[in-house]
């Protein structure tokens, strides 16, 4: 009820009242309000504290450029720090609190910083806090860190969801002010696919904040009419509440749509925000202009704001920021604020115009050639001091001051490709660069065309031109008559004075700081910015950067463009991390790949482990087993004693066909394949071109021209890519065709002395040793279902891998276990797989780490020198074949009770634990129930010659060491009798 500063008019819905709270106190506003407009309507000017000096602050602007009115929105897990009150759309029940103050906004103890400000000049911390040395981290920095930041995170998981999506259009229009709407209308009527984004919840841009007419209608009504027509066109997509964030390459723009931020909480299933990637063939920047202040002493008090904002609060929101106001300007647009406010019945005490000559405003005290030299008021403006043209100084009581130093085209996005903005003297501002993002043009105020007439004309014209590029004919619509006032500005950046005049309000950078930077040789724009922190606050210097540049220009005696330009980087305004992350969080961070036996394994109570994207059964606990070791030992022993079954579907499977497939395999494998007979499998070693091992696996020749390659689980994708590279880029005429079949087949390893007996119950063909010997392969059937059988072994046991179409994978594991019941068959997981392969001395991921050669792995002889396989030549470089290099070895603790730790390093007995004595490391460690102790594989310098030696395996992280014996890596059946059984 007490919206004491609410006046008539504006685009708010007075038929509805919304309640909200700020710092615990209740207020009321209306739909159409922002938090800032509603607080101002309630007479609240003080909304925040500055970063360094904790100065009391109110809104400077009425838009996203806001540096001061920064609050914490919402509560609990939805607490949202650093939210600009000037763009936060009011909703019923909104809560907000002020930030960076203690204990309260009106009494902030850290305000003492303001009194100590002489010590906190730009760069002060670089010159001090260095003595004594350790005090920086123990004393000074903790204090500084505690004072850091503005708002706080909740430290709770963000409860809201975010979506991401892709849009495609012929023309993207960024900003729905007069230029953007005229452009959209032109392109929309021509039938082009048009997307219009606008950060505001109400399209129209400045038309909503101004009083001038467009034709017979008010600006706001004209905008509403155009928006209605655009909304009716199926080829036009209007996206209010959508900020275009950045220009990427080739016409791609990122944007964030605030779907639910104007609601208390998002509706069920709906996102809070959506990150859009907009693929445009052409784009048009019609983002308007941002007003800039003139710096003067104490120009940061609540109540002092940009003149255009003061006007917007009155015209759009029906709010008189103060009952008695003044305007300080160097250009005609500032005068418009005075006339508009006066027309609203607000007491305009004076217009302080830095210019001389020209017509005087009628009915208003218009002081030409005057300056505002300071302000007064503890928590908000109560008076300004004026120096008249004649030098006389006057103190004028006012509660609001509108300041206009001119307007900067909002070219932010046009410089995202590092194009340099171009200075235009006529408007005393930078306009978009000539070498901006390809396909992007600018129109309206964003292009430096400030009148409404020019905005409409240039917007429509730019749309015609853009569509013409695309071969679409568009015609200019009938545009209404509109004001076409010229820009009349006499640049004025700051008012000379002794006190502090703020350039960057949030970061508390003053004219004095810029001067000090200059004095210390930090004169380039980049140095200025970094030394003073100018433009690095949450507003990214949207109102202050040019001002700082101008001050530096004056100090160095150069022009502004000579001094430098500020270019911008994405995002245009800060964007929630949640939106950039989308749905990829929690369990949905990455997709989950399930093996064909997953459902069954889950029923068995298997413990699963992430292997890349896959979930694999790690072990299968049985009743009574209390540690994983018990389960794994049982699985290993049962497999070696009888038979075990493991899902090995995750290994990559690549179907290779064609008449040159053998020659192709000879190219990609270090060993020879073309000589392999049909129905046979061979182990292959694949090298990178630099001679390091890339991958290993078995490849089976299923037919004359048909091969199936297996890769490691981890390398399935890179190996496929590599094969295509060799096929297309190196051997373009080879008759070879490739396709992945990893997902098509469910594949199980059946290992152990009873493996054959088990399989014979299922397989319809003769698989006796004679019919299906070691390293045989072939197409078979399982109870009538087409299948593939490979007699290969990773465990060292008599073993097969059997593959059925994936849809039968679930049935197959059940059938295998059922058939294996009489043999006490076990299912085993990745742990047991690992134990058995270490026992057998097979290398895997920990040994195939991209740093090791075939020679390191003891497989040097596999590299054929008779053919030009990938990696052959460079694998022979001196550093890779040096005597005494790393060789794979087996490792056993001398005392079987001692556990080994992977990653421990080898040292000689008695050798000091220093790098010079480092002999290598343990790559993989398992407990071998077969050996009865921990065993390991390791890479050891001169390892082959050290077999039988005793060394120390040292883990300095745990401060443990174990005496170990170096042995052959083949702990089980070194002669390979079993697998041929």
């Amino acid at each position: 009820m007490t919206q004491k500063n609410r006046i008539t008019g504006g685009q708010i819905d007075r038929s509805r009242t919304l309640s909200f709270r700020f710092d615990g106190k209740s207020y009321q506003g209306h739909p159409g309000d922002t938090l800032a407009s509603a607080l101002l309507a309630n007479g609240v000017r003080l909304m925040g504290r500055s970063f360094k000096y904790h100065r009391p602050r109110g809104p400077l602007s009425a838009g996203s450029e806001e540096p001061n009115a920064i609050v914490q929105l919402r509560e609990g897990a939805r607490q949202e720090p650093n939210t600009r009150a000037t763009v936060a759309e009011l909703f019923d029940g909104l809560t907000a609190t002020s930030q960076n103050r203690f204990p309260s906004l009106s009494f902030d103890m850290m305000g003492v910083n303001d009194l100590l400000s002489p010590f906190f000049a730009a760069g002060f911390y670089y010159k001090t806090f260095m003595w004594p040395a350790k005090f920086w981290e123990s004393i000074y920095e903790p204090i500084i860190r505690r004072a850091a930041g503005l708002g706080a995170l909740s430290r709770q998981d963000d409860p809201d969801a975010y979506d991401k999506g892709f849009l495609h259009c012929d023309l993207l229009v960024i900003g729905a002010g007069p230029a953007g709407l005229a452009a959209a209308l032109t392109a929309g009527r021509a039938g082009a696919r048009v997307i219009v984004t606008d950060e505001d919840f109400r399209m129209g841009g400045r038309l909503n904040a101004e009083t001038h007419a467009l034709g017979e209608a008010s600006g706001a009504d004209w905008a509403a009419g155009v928006v209605a027509e655009l909304a009716s066109l199926p080829n036009v997509r209007l996206m209010p509440r959508t900020t275009t964030l950045g220009a990427m390459d080739h016409g791609i723009y990122s944007a964030v749509e605030r779907v639910s931020d104007h609601l208390p909480v998002p509706a069920a299933g709906k996102p809070r925000q959506i990150l859009w990637r907009i693929y445009s063939r052409r784009a048009l920047l019609t983002a308007g202009a941002i007003e800039r202040p003139i710096a003067f002493e104490n120009n940061d008090r609540p109540g002092i704001m940009l003149a255009g904002a003061l006007r917007a609060y009155a015209n759009r929101w029906g709010v008189a920021v103060g009952e008695r106001v003044a305007v300080f300007t160097n250009n005609d647009d500032g005068l418009r604020t005075a006339t508009d406010l006066a027309a609203k019945g607000i007491d305009v005490a004076a217009v302080i115009d830095t210019r001389t000559g020209g017509p005087l405003l009628p009915g208003i005290r218009h002081l030409q050639g005057a300056e505002v030299t300071g302000s007064a008021g503890r928590l908000g403006l109560s008076a300004i001091s004026i120096r008249h043209a004649n030098g006389k100084v006057e103190s004028l009581p006012v509660t609001a001051l509108g300041v206009s130093g001119g307007w900067n085209p909002n070219l932010n996005i046009a410089s995202h490709h590092r194009g340099r903005p171009v200075w235009q003297d006529a408007i005393a501002a930078f306009v978009p660069p000539k070498d901006g993002p390809a396909g992007l043009s600018a129109a309206g105020a964003a292009a430096g065309l400030f009148s409404t007439h020019a905005a409409l004309q240039s917007g429509a014209g730019a749309a015609v031109a853009a569509l013409d590029d695309l071969g679409v004919k568009a015609t200019l619509p009938d545009l209404p008559r509109a004001e076409d006032a010229p820009v009349a500005i006499a640049p004025k950046w700051y008012v000379q004075g002794k006190g502090r005049a703020w350039v960057d309000q949030q970061n508390d950078v003053t004219v004095k700081d810029v001067k000090l930077a200059h004095q210390e040789n930090f004169v380039s724009v980049e140095h200025l910015k970094r030394y003073t922190t100018l433009g690095m606050a949450t507003d990214q210097g949207k109102t202050g950067n040019i001002l700082g540049l101008a001050v530096m220009a004056e100090l160095t005696g150069r022009t502004i463009p000579e001094t430098g330009t500020t270019i911008y980087r994405p995002p245009y305004t800060p964007v929630a991390m949640g939106a950039l992350g989308g749905r990829s969080r929690g369990h949905e961070f990455k997709p989950t790949r399930l093996t064909p036996s997953h459902k069954w394994a889950n029923e068995q109570g298997a413990v699963f482990v992430e292997v890349g994207m896959w979930l694999r059964a790690q072990w299968f606990p049985k009743a009574g087993e209390t540690t994983w070791r018990q389960s794994v030992d049982r699985e290993v022993l049962a497999t070696r004693a009888s038979v075990g079954i493991c899902d090995v579907t995750t290994l990559g499977k690549i179907d290779i066909q064609g008449t040159d497939a053998g020659a192709f395999l000879d190219k990609v494998y270090a060993n020879t394949f073309s000589t392999l007979g049909v129905g046979k499998v061979r182990y292959g070693l694949m090298l990178r071109e630099d001679g390091i091992v890339m991958d290993d696996g078995t490849t089976a020749r299923m037919g004359q021209n048909e091969w199936v390659m297996t890769t490691t689980t981890a390398n399935a994708v890179p190996v496929f890519r590599h094969l295509e590279y060799v096929r297309q880029c190196l051997c373009p005429d080879m008759d070879v065709q490739l396709i992945s079949t990893t997902e098509a087949w469910a594949q199980y390893s059946v290992a152990g002395p009873n493996a054959r007996k088990l399989l014979e119950k299922l397989v319809d063909q003769d698989i006796s040793d004679a019919a299906f010997p070691y390293m045989a392969c072939g197409a078979i059937t399982v109870k009538g279902v087409r299948a593939r059988l490979f007699r290969i072994s990773f465990s060292g046991e008599l073993a097969y891998e059997i593959a059925v179409p994936t849809r039968y994978g679930d049935a197959m594991i059940r059938a295998l276990m059922e058939a294996g019941r009489e043999f006490d068959a076990v299912a085993y997981g990745t742990e047991s797989l690992g134990v058995m392969r270490v026992e057998k001395g097979h290398v895997a991921g920990n040994e195939l780490n991209g740093q090791t050669t075939a020679l390191n792995m003891g497989l040097g002889k596999m590299v054929s020198k008779k053919k030009d396989a990938i990696g052959m030549v460079l694998s022979q470089r001196e550093g890779l074949v040096a005597e005494g290099g790393l060789r794979i070895v087996g490792v056993k603790p001398v005392d079987p009770a001692q556990p080994l730790t992977a990653g421990s390093h080898f040292l000689e007995p008695g050798a000091a634990a220093v790098a010079a004595n480092d002999l290598g490391w343990l790559t993989s460690v398992v407990y071998s129930p077969h050996v009865g102790s921990s065993i390991a594989l390791g890479y050891l310098k001169n390892g082959e010659a050290r077999k039988g030696q005793r060394l120390r395996a040292v883990n300095l992280l745990a401060k443990t060491e174990v005496e170990v014996e170096i042995v052959s890596a083949h702990f089980v059946d070194p002669e390979g009798v079993r697998l041929r059984g």
Binding site: Y279, P591, T592, G784
Partner: protein, 186 residues
């Protein structure tokens, strides 16, 4: 002795395909189609053989329905052939005699989980899922694309009927993504 015969399950792990409706769209798990890749071998021309057998070989980016089989383009000289599962369970056996040694044929039926999305406003759903301009490409288009980190094929059979083929092992992740997007849009 226990019955050891093998019974298939669907990509989502059930006996029967799943079907759900959200707003104007229906998402159905589809298991009635056999798939095989067909790659023309170097120096061969399989156009005539394909034509004779009524197997379409559409150009890049396209899908085409033939009398019995349909096909979409995978990569240069390579297509995915679709055939009714009931009659073509062993699809390779059907195709081999048609092409002989002129083509490499690989069964792909179980490599993919297929979800058909039917109903109105499909472009609005797919714009949250993938960077494939459904509205521009229209019916008869097919493309590989990414959905929530999964490499998938999108086949636009009609404006109101789009198939998504994703890696079978990730069927649940893909289905979840489709369902979540539908709830978000509708």
């Amino acid at each position: 002795m226990a019955d050891l015969s093998l019974k298939p399950i669907t990509p989502l792990g059930n006996d029967l395909p799943v079907r759900i409706s959200i707003g104007p769209v229906t998402i159905s798990e589809v298991v009635d189609t056999a798939l095989a890749s067909l790659a023309q071998r170097m120096g061969q021309d399989i156009t005539a053989a394909a034509k004779g057998a009524g197997i379409p070989l559409p150009p890049a980016g396209r899908w085409e329905q033939g009398a019995t089989c349909a096909a979409f383009w995978l990569s240069p000289e390579m297509w995915m052939i679709e055939a009714p599962f009931a009659s073509h369970e062993d699809i390779v056996a059907h195709l081999k005699p048609v092409f002989g040694e002129a083509a490499s044929i690989t069964e792909q039926t179980d490599a993919w989980a297929r979800f058909d999305v039917t109903g109105a406003s499909l472009p609005r759903l797919f714009e949250l899922l993938c960077n494939y301009d459904i509205a521009r490409h229209g019916a008869g288009s097919a493309s590989r694309t990414m959905m929530e980190h999964l490499g998938c094929y999108v086949v636009i059979r009609a404006a109101d009927h789009i198939s998504v083929l994703g890696p079978r092992s990730s069927a649940q992740s893909l289905f979840h993504a489709l369902e979540t997007a539908a709830h978000s849009v509708f």
